[in-house]
C-alpha cells in the first residue's frame, strides 16, 4: 500500500476499450512453419529446469520488458538463487494494455508459462503483477484475484509504477521480473516447439476506430495494424510505445513493429503549439518520482552549464516523463534531460578516448 504515498502523477488510464476487447491475432503466412527441432517431449512436467531454458533458447524468446533473451535471464536468475519470479503485466502508461490483455485472455498459457519459468529458475514463489492506478475507475474490465491459480499482486500508487515494483517484492527475497508476453512464448516453446515470431501490441489512440490488442507477426508496420483496426481519422502523429515514454514514428509505412514496441498509438494533434517560458512554478520538482529538481536541471541544460548537472543527480533520472506531463509551460523537460545525458556520455567517452 505504500505506493499510495509515492510521488508522481495520477493519470487517466484510457486503456478501455482495448483492454476489454478480446485479444485478436494478425499473422502472416509464415507463422505456421515457425517451429524448431528438438527431441524433448512436449510436456512441461517431464522437463527439467535446464531443458526449459534450452527450449527458450531454441525459441529465441526475447523479454518484452527489457529486450533481454529469456534464456539468459532465466539462466542468470538460476545462478543468483532468485526466490521470487514475477510475471510483469504492469502496463502503467495510459492506452497501453498489451501485457494485461494477454494475461486476461490467455490465462492458461500465461499461468503455465510462469510455472515453467519458475521451474527453470528452481521453484521460487510466483506472482503476477498488475498496476492499480488511483483512478482506474474507468476500467470496465474486472480484474481477477488470480490467474490459473497464481496470485495477482497489485502495484498501487501513482505513475510511474513499473520502476518501483522491485521494491514491492523485495521483502519476499531476490526477485526477477519476466514480461507476460514472453511467458506465453515460453509456453509455446515447450508445448509446440514454436519459435517466437510474434509480439503483442496495443493499437489505440484517438484516431483509431476500434482500439484493441493484437498478436502480430514481428515486422509488420503500423500502417498494417491501422488497416486491421481501422482509422477514424488521419492521425496527427504515430507513436511507438507508451504515451508517456514512446517515440514518434516518422515512417509508419516501413517501421517494423517488434517485441519491444508494446503499443502503436495514432494520436490526434490536438495540443496547440503554444510557446511558453518556464514560469518557475516548481511543479516538476513536486512530482518527480526520483525526487530530483527538474527545474534546475532543465535550466542548466538551457544555459549549457553541463558541469552543474552532476550536482543535481541527473543520472538518476529514469526518463518517465512525469515532469514534462505536469509542466504548465509545456516544456519538454524529460526530452531535454535525455539529450543532455547522451551529451554527457559522449563527452566522457571523448575524454577517455584522449
Amino acid at each position: 500500500m505504500a505506493g499510495n504515498f509515492t510521488r508522481g502523477i495520477i493519470l487517466e488510464q484510457r486503456k478501455e476499450p482495448a483492454l476489454r476487447r478480446k485479444l485478436r491475432t494478425f499473422l502472416n503466412a509464415n507463422y505456421a512453419g515457425m517451429l524448431f527441432d528438438s527431441d524433448l517431449p512436449y510436456d512441461g512436467a517431464a522437463l527439467s529446469g535446464e531443458q526449459i531454458i534450452e527450449l527458450a533458447k531454441l525459441a529465441r524468446i526475447v523479454d518484452e520488458r527489457d529486450g533481454v533473451f529469456l534464456h539468459e535471464k532465466l539462466e542468470k536468475a538460476r545462478q543468483m538463487k532468485i526466490e521470487v519470479v514475477v510475471g510483469d503485466a504492469i502496463d502503467d502508461e495510459p492506452y497501453v494494455s498489451s501485457q494485461m490483455n494477454p494475461l486476461l485472455f490467455m490465462q492458461k498459457e500465461t499461468g503455465e508459462g510462469l510455472r515453467l519459468a519458475a521451474k527453470a529458475v528452481g521453484n521460487p514463489k510466483i506472482y503476477f503483477a498488475i498496476y492499480k492506478n488511483l483512478s482506474d475507475m474507468d476500467l470496465k474490465t474486472k480484474l481477477p484475484k488470480d490467474i490459473d491459480g497464481v496470485e495477482i499482486r497489485r502495484i498501487h500508487g501513482r505513475y510511474p509504477a513499473e520502476f518501483r515494483t522491485m521494491d514491492d517484492f523485495d521483502s519476499d527475497g531476490p526477485t526477477v521480473m519476466i514480461g507476460v508476453c514472453s511467458l506465453i512464448h515460453l509456453y509455446r516453446a515447450v508445448y509446440e516447439h514454436r519459435i517466437q515470431s510474434t509480439c503483442f501490441v496495443t493499437v489505440a489512440g484517438g484516431c483509431v476506430a476500434n482500439p484493441m490488442n493484437l498478436e502480430v507477426s514481428i515486422g509488420m508496420t503500423p500502417t498494417h495494424l491501422f488497416e486491421r483496426c481501422g482509422l477514424a481519422e488521419d492521425p496527427g502523429y504515430v507513436v511507438i510505445g507508451g504515451s508517456m515514454t514512446g517515440e514518434i514514428c516518422e515512417d509508419p509505412d516501413n517501421y517494423p513493429v517488434g517485441t519491444m514496441s508494446r503499443a502503436v498509438l495514432a494520436l490526434r494533434d490536438e495540443e496547440k503549439k503554444r510557446r511558453y517560458r518556464c514560469i518557475g512554478c516548481g511543479r516538476c520538482a513536486e512530482v518527480c518520482p526520483e525526487n530530483l529538481t527538474p527545474f534546475y536541471i532543465n535550466r542548466y541544460i538551457e544555459l549549457e552549464k553541463y558541469q552543474e548537472l552532476a550536482f543535481y543527480d541527473i543520472h538518476r533520472c529514469i526518463g518517465c516523463g512525469t515532469c514534462s506531463y505536469i509542466c504548465p509551460a509545456k516544456i519538454d523537460i524529460a526530452e531535454n534531460i535525455k539529450l543532455a545525458v547522451a551529451e554527457l556520455r559522449r563527452r566522457r567517452r571523448q575524454k577517455e578516448g584522449d
Binding site: I9, L11, E12, R14, K81, E83, P94, D170, G173, P174, G236, Y237, V239, S243, M244, T245, G246, E247, I248, L265, L267, D269, E271, K273, R274, R275, Y276, R277, C278, I279, G280, C281, G282, C284, A285, E286, N291, T293, F295, Y296, R299, F311, Y312, D313, R316, G321, S324, Y325, I326, C327, P328, A329, K330, I331, D332, A334, E335
Partner: protein, 337 residues
C-alpha cells in the same frame, strides 16, 4: 521553447502557464471589486493604467531583447494588477505607472525575465514608489469619499491605522470596520475576509503551494500574538496588525510568485519563515509603515541559496538511503545463504 513536433509524453496535463496565471488574475478581481466599492472609478482606472504600463513595457523589453513575444504570457498583467492595490487610491497616475515600468523593465527584465527574476517585480515596484513618493503612496482618502477618477488629489488625505501602529500607538478604528476593510489604507487589500477567500481559492486550485504561506502565516500570527508591538493584548494586536498591514496580501500574492519562490518544499518552508522574520524585524526597526515588500526583497536574495542547500541535503539523504538499502539486501541474502 518552440514546439515543432510533439515529444514524449504525448498526454499532458491540462493546466498551462496561462491557466495558472489566470487563476491569480481571477483571485485579484474581487480585490478590485472591493477597491471599486470603496473608492469608485479611480481604483479601476489606476489598475488599468498600471496593467497597461506593465504589458507595454514587457512587450517592449521582449522585442528589444530580440525575442519573439509570448502572447499567452500574462505574468506582466499580474504584476500590473498587484501594484496599485498596495497604494492609496489617491496615488497620482504617474506614480503607479512609473512603479509598474520600474518593476517590469528594471527588475523583471534586467534580472532575467519570467520565472528567472531574482527579485519579485511587484514588491520592487512598490518599494520603488514608497521610497520615491512616500507622501503620495501612504496618504489615504477616506472610503466612500469618491475621489475624482482623474487628476491629482491633494485634499482630505490622511494616514491610516498602519501609521499609528508604526508610531507604537493603538489605532482608534472600530474593530468591525477594521475587519470589513472600511478604514484608511491601501485601496485593495483592506478586507481581510476577501483576502482569506482568495488564499483558499488559490490553494484549492493548486495555483500556489501550501508550504511558503503556511510557514509565513504561522510565524507571523504567533509573533503578533505573543509579542505585540503596541500596548494591547495579543489577539487585539493580531487584529490590528493583520488588517492594517500589507503582509496578508503579500503572503498570498507576492510571496508565492513562482519566479522567485524556491522550488523544493523544504526550502519553501524556510523561505516563508525567513520572510516572516524579516517582516517582523522591519516592523520593529524599519523606517516605513508598510514593511512587507522590503522584507520580501531581502528574502528573495536567499531563495536560490535555500534551494541549493536543500538539494545538497537531498543528495546526502539519497545516498544514505541507497547505501542502507544495498546493505540491508546484502545482509538478507547473506542470512539466506
Amino acid at each position: 521553447m518552440l514546439q515543432n513536433e510533439p515529444k514524449a509524453p504525448y498526454v499532458r496535463n491540462r493546466d498551462s502557464a496561462f491557466t495558472v496565471m489566470m487563476d491569480v488574475v481571477v483571485a485579484l478581481l474581487p480585490l478590485y471589486f472591493m477597491a471599486f466599492y470603496f473608492y469608485g472609478l479611480r481604483a479601476l482606472m489606476l489598475g488599468l493604467a498600471s496593467v497597461a504600463a506593465a504589458v507595454i513595457s514587457d512587450l517592449a523589453c521582449v522585442l528589444l531583447e530580440g525575442k519573439r513575444p509570448y502572447p499567452r504570457d500574462i505574468s506582466s498583467v499580474v504584476t500590473g494588477m498587484i501594484l496599485p492595490l498596495m497604494m492609496s487610491a489617491a496615488t497620482p497616475y504617474y506614480v503607479v505607472v512609473s512603479a509598474s515600468v520600474f518593476a517590469i523593465v528594471l527588475v523583471k527584465h534586467v534580472f532575467g525575465g519570467v520565472g528567472q527574476s531574482a527579485f519579485n517585480p511587484a514588491a520592487a515596484g512598490f518599494a520603488f514608489a514608497a521610497a520615491c513618493w512616500p507622501s503620495q503612496v501612504f496618504s489615504y482618502p477616506a472610503p466612500f469619499s469618491s475621489p475624482a477618477p482623474f487628476g491629482a488629489i491633494t485634499e482630505g488625505l490622511a494616514s491610516g491605522p498602519a501609521w499609528s501602529l508604526f508610531q507604537g500607538g493603538v489605532p482608534t478604528n472600530d474593530i468591525l470596520d477594521l475587519l470589513l476593510g472600511k478604514f484608511l489604507g491601501p485601496m485593495g487589500l483592506t478586507n481581510i475576509l476577501v483576502l482569506a477567500t482568495c488564499l483558499f481559492y488559490l490553494l484549492f486550485r493548486g495555483a500556489i503551494g501550501w508550504q511558503a504561506p503556511a510557514a509565513f502565516f504561522g510565524i507571523m500570527v504567533v509573533a503578533m500574538m505573543l509579542f505585540p508591538r503596541i500596548p494591547e493584548s495579543g489577539p487585539m494586536s493580531l487584529v490590528y496588525e493583520s488588517t492594517a498591514g500589507m503582509w496578508i496580501f503579500g503572503g498570498i500574492f507576492m510571496l508565492n510568485e513562482p519566479g522567485t519562490l524556491p522550488k523544493r518544499s523544504s526550502s519553501r518552508i524556510a523561505y516563508g519563515a525567513l520572510a516572516a522574520i524579516f517582516t517582523i524585524l522591519f516592523q520593529r526597526f524599519g523606517r516605513v509603515e508598510q514593511t512587507f515588500a522590503f522584507a520580501l526583497l531581502l528574502t528573495n536574495v536567499f531563495g536560490f541559496t535555500f534551494d541549493r542547500y536543500s538539494e545538497r541535503l537531498l543528495r546526502r539523504l539519497r545516498r544514505v538511503y541507497l547505501a542502507t538499502r544495498t546493505k540491508l539486501s546484502e545482509k538478507k541474502s547473506a542470512q539466506r545463504a
